[in-house]
Symmetry: C2
Subunit: 123 residues, 2 copies
DNA sequence: CGGCATCCCTGGTGATACTG
DNA sequence: CAGTATCACCAGGGATGCCG
């Protein structure tokens, strides 16, 4: 019985409360991770470069989000043992795959934002 | 000068703090809207049906998220003037377009969740 | 049935200061 | 440079009760 549970949630179960994908979805769609995916789309970036690239992010949230993305296997952290410290972040192959989906969503939004916001301005 | 501002943010500016797409992104990637997009993927659903379809959502958040999605033009609310009340929700054409992007992300997550979660279980 | 109003509390987030 | 630690705030979200 119990060994069947994992199979039960193999697909199409995001709508189920207990679907393990829910947790991942929550982190992937979190406020800053989407923007970090965009920033790392083509580049490997250092912490401070990321901070400048992602407008409005605080050090705290950038570090926290990067740690989560690293835990999820989307981001690789490369630390050079020098002074002053030098750390680079880049997307893993898994992260690159997901980035494709995230960018698809983001691009659609940027292209169509006027269709969304314009009607509201008239009201 | 000022009339140029809207053009400045026409594309590739999600990383900018002041990009108007930021607000839309926030609502689209909010906890429940993603799941509502999935639930309304193929069907028109009533409020109570949506409540059952989207596991774990409270009445309050379902109503609130639906209102936001309606304001953004993604969801159409159809109220029949009968007793007891009968209200249906369905995606607008705009919502259908966005749904394609959201579903792409969700499907990828469900298909690859094991590649994400499995490594952590070993640790 | 399909909500809205209210209370309440957790946790996500920002600001600041500090460290290796 | 690349973070961590601490504090404080308030929006997100759950629970409950009421209404057309």
């Amino acid at each position: 019985m119990s060994e069947k549970i994992s199979e039960k949630f193999s697909r199409g179960e995001l709508l189920n409360v207990n679907c393990p994908s829910r947790e991942v979805l929550k982190r992937v769609t979190s406020r800053w991770s989407v923007l970090i995916f965009l920033a790392l789309r083509h580049n490997t970036l250092r912490f401070s470069e990321l901070r400048r690239a992602v407008g409005g992010v605080s050090e705290r949230m950038l570090a926290q989000t990067l740690r989560h993305m690293e835990e999820d296997g989307f981001v690789e952290r490369i630390a050079y043992d020098v002074v002053p410290p030098h750390v680079e972040y880049r997307l893993t192959p898994l992260g690159q795959e997901l980035q494709g989906q995230v960018v698809g969503l983001a691009d659609w939004l940027e292209l169509n934002v006027n269709r969304i916001l314009a009607p509201r301005d008239k009201a």
